[in-house]
């Protein structure tokens, strides 16, 4: 039986050691030519994304992909999208947003001003979700959200605030389960197959390019949200980023991770208290 060819179809690597050598060389080439450092990305997902790019570019080997990347910056842009887009949705994991409303917002009310860092914000679904939540809770006015991503292209999408209309049914369900207080449809205007969210939601948002693997801390924050971004990093890089977050958080600042991301495997486990263990919401205590 012939299996249907999907975008995940990958040329079967015949020689694992050769493949690893090719991957190492490609990542080194990308780093030295373009300055993006993927050398400490988690290997299993990285390989899947490289295989997908091989299939899409219709090249047979990673070495061929490397040659094309080096000579064609547009090919690099395509790979950068593959490697940096983190699939997400509005109010993904509604229980997280519910916990944020109930356990973090009361803390924010006690601050005159709140700085929040959404690290690895991708196409912005999470940023808009957060802005809606904060607005409903009456604290958006005195909040600034710094939304960063490695990839300038996804930030452009995020700034535009247009998401697929077809996703709105799912997002509406998520919104309701997250403790949303209104009719979700009040937040967007349908235009063709897109749902346009108002620019008022990003009035207090600064979108900026930032590379977690290489760049330094750029401010002090009361809250850092970084969900399902570090799962694509190896342990050493995760440790680096946790160091960056620790340096960037004010004392008693909040750190929020994805549902299946644990501080336990990092060298910063002792620096935080659990605010909500299941939702992976932590508070810096030292």
């Amino acid at each position: 039986m012939a299996l249907p060819l999907t975008e995940t179809a990958a040329p079967p690597p015949e020689d694992p050691e050769l493949e690893q050598l090719e991957i190492d060389l490609l990542l080194e080439a990308v780093y030295r030519r373009y300055g993006f450092d993927f050398r400490q990305y988690a290997v299993a997902s990285l390989k899947r994304r490289l295989w997908r790019r091989l299939a899409a570019e219709r090249v047979g080997t990673i070495s061929e992909l490397q040659a094309r990347l080096l000579h064609d910056p547009r090919c690099m842009e395509r790979l950068l999208l593959d490697l940096s887009i983190n699939v997400t949705s509005m109010f993904r994991d509604p229980t997280f947003y519910l916990a944020f409303r109930e356990k973090v917002v009361p803390l924010l009310r006690t601050y005159p001003f709140t700085r929040i860092w959404c690290a690895g914000c991708s196409t912005g679904e999470e940023v808009y979700s957060l802005a809606i939540l904060l607005e409903e809770e009456g604290v958006y006015e005195r909040t600034r959200i710094y939304a960063t991503d490695i990839n300038e292209n996804v930030l452009t999408t995020a700034r535009e605030g247009v998401f697929p209309l077809a996703s709105m049914q799912q997002y509406t369900e998520n919104y309701i389960r997250s403790g949303g207080k209104h009719d979700f449809s009040r937040y967007y205007v349908a235009a063709y197959d897109g749902a346009q969210f108002p620019h008022s939601l990003t009035e207090n948002v600064v979108f900026a390019q930032h590379n977690l693997a290489m760049d330094r801390s750029f401010n002090d924050f009361n809250v850092i949200i970084c969900r399902n971004v570090m799962i694509y990093f190896d342990r050493a890089l995760q440790d680096r980023v946790h160091g960056l977050f620790h340096d960037s958080l004010e004392m008693f600042g909040i750190l929020a991770l994805g549902h299946k991301e644990s501080l336990a495997f990092t060298s910063h486990a002792g620096s935080y208290d659990e605010i909500d263990p299941a939702e992976r919401i932590y508070r810096k205590i030292r």
Partner: protein, 186 residues
């Protein structure tokens, strides 16, 4: 020697994995990673509790980077792909593959890649063809491919697809799979 057992199943899978774990001899110490197709809303930990009643092995929904230990059963968490790297679990939120997240192919391909001829893949009952490509990859990398006998599967589409995609080392009724694993692993 084998270092990891990966199992994929969908329709009818809960019962099938339960029975497989029930019948598996304690001497089989290899870590087991299971993808059972499940809905996004499925309750965290519920599947682990149910399967935990059928085995003295530790059954859990792993976090990213959870160390892979002997005598443990790791379940693909809802809405994440579960992959294995040498020695630990790796999760991803990449797009659904063939409508599934977790996807059996994603797990199996990662096992083939990280463990090569030290991986055992098992495709059980299911109503789609997820797992076929992954099982073929395991076999191609020198690992062992086991498929539940289609005639005795609750749904035969998935075993049929796996058998069509690769030259399976064993096609067995569910109750004979634990014995076969015992022979391989001890």
């Amino acid at each position: 020697m084998y270092d990891v057992i990966v199992i994929g199943t969908s329709w009818g899978g809960l019962d099938a994995v339960s029975r497989l774990l029930d019948g598996l001899d304690d001497a089989v110490r290899q870590p087991i990673v299971v993808v059972q197709h499940r809905s996004v809303e499925s309750q965290e930990g519920a599947l682990a509790r149910i399967l935990g009643d059928h085995t003295s092995r530790t059954v859990c929904d792993p976090d990213d980077k959870t160390e892979i230990e002997p005598y443990h059963v790791y379940l693909g968490p809802p809405d994440y792909h579960v992959l294995v790297e040498e020695g630990h679990i790796a999760l991803s939120t990449d797009d659904v593959v063939e409508y599934a997240r977790p996807s059996i192919d994603v797990l199996f391909e990662s096992a083939a890649d990280a463990y090569g001829d030290r991986a055992i893949g098992i495709v059980l009952t299911g109503a789609n063809h997820d797992g076929a490509r992954g099982l073929a990859r395991i076999k191609q990398r020198g690992g062992v491919a086991i498929v539940q006998e289609p005639e005795t599967s609750t749904r035969r589409a998935m075993p049929d697809a796996a058998i069509a995609a690769t030259d399976a080392d064993a096609i067995l009724p569910l109750d004979e799979i634990p014995k076969f694993l015992y022979g391989l692993c001890t």
